[in-house]
Symmetry: C2
Subunit: 202 residues, 2 copies
């Protein structure tokens, strides 16, 4: 494989290093997976993604599709499988692409890494990256899927209320208190609430 | 405000447009929030983020910090509040920055947008963006927090198994079947599983 969408492999590796912190094998393979998905979809669709793992793959999707965590067109439903579904948001038609372990016998370094058969200290990163570049999307499976749009549990629009406990704005539909004050969902306690007007000199 | 970290405002708006799809007000404000958080933290920390909303703010964090969804240094715990906590991952010390609605009286367009007091069709986007640029981080509050690291429920490392139902790789620690085959967590059915070796001609 010599390119990922409109990018050369080396360009893509630079993008991954900048965004993800390092050229993680999973994000590199994810690039070929996204490239493969687009070959089977009309160019003019309005796409969203369901990603089945929180590890690495979401960053390939964010770098190569218009879908991001913050624009809420990328949703992670963590099944632990290295797979995502790219689908047209109005019709629900899409493709699911996954890393297919049954195709890895030709690529022993990828197989040892993906199935955790090779201990980290015994992995040869250079060989791993070379195998990933050579394999491209040949190690991926793909299937058509029909996303059930009404089961996506998209949050309904809500007006905004001020929480009487923390005095911050939140969705009225969440009830009389914001979710943070209702239950201990956050893993921290407040130490000192700096008066907002004075944060510059605090 | 004339800059966001090392970027001019206009540079940052271009980054947001490219990554998020358009210069969303929430991502612009998020930029000033991240800038403010960094003023209070040592430069050499190894940081992670808990973001309290899935809307817009995660993209400001991904653009301006080393934390992303795919490298798992950004975690969304959706309380609906427009806030995030940037903390040092080994000590748990950090700051929580939030958009403070009590400071919005001087910025009527931001107030109308943030508290959903102004209907969408009555919003003046030009005025809104101008107010956001002028206000910078003056509309944000900040507080010190101590993150309880042991309550973050980080997933333990697991070996990999092959699911006897779907024949895909998943975390052994998830049980005898992968989470997708165990329950109906995914909003789609499979239509046709293209034999992997032949996807190019399928």
């Amino acid at each position: 494989m010599s390119s990922i969408l409109s990018h050369s492999i080396d360009e893509y590796i630079k993008m991954v290093t900048s965004f993800h912190g390092y050229p993680a094998p999973g994000v590199l393979i994810g690039g070929f997976m996204v490239d493969l998905a687009y070959t089977k979809l009309p160019k003019d669709g309005l796409y969203e993604v369901i990603c089945e793992t929180a590890k690495c793959l979401p960053d390939a999707i964010q770098l190569l599709t218009p879908c991001s965590t913050g624009n809420q067109r990328l949703k992670v439903i963590d099944t632990g499988r290295y797979a995502f579904t790219l689908y047209e948001k109005r019709s629900g038609e899409g493709v699911r692409v996954y890393l297919d372990w049954t195709l890895l016998d030709e690529w022993p370094e990828i197989k040892g890494w993906f199935l955790k058969l090779t201990p980290k200290e015994a992995q040869d990163e250079g060989v791993l990256i070379r195998e990933i570049k050579e394999a491209g999307s040949d190690i991926c499976g793909m299937e058509k899927v029909q996303v059930k749009l009404d089961s996506l549990n998209k949050r309904k629009k809500s007006s905004i209320s001020i929480c009487p406990s923390c005095n911050e704005a939140y969705r009225t539909s969440d009830g009389a208190l914001c979710p943070a004050c209702k239950g201990s969902v956050l893993p921290y306690g407040r130490m000192s609430k700096t008066p907002s007007k004075r944060h510059k000199s605090a």
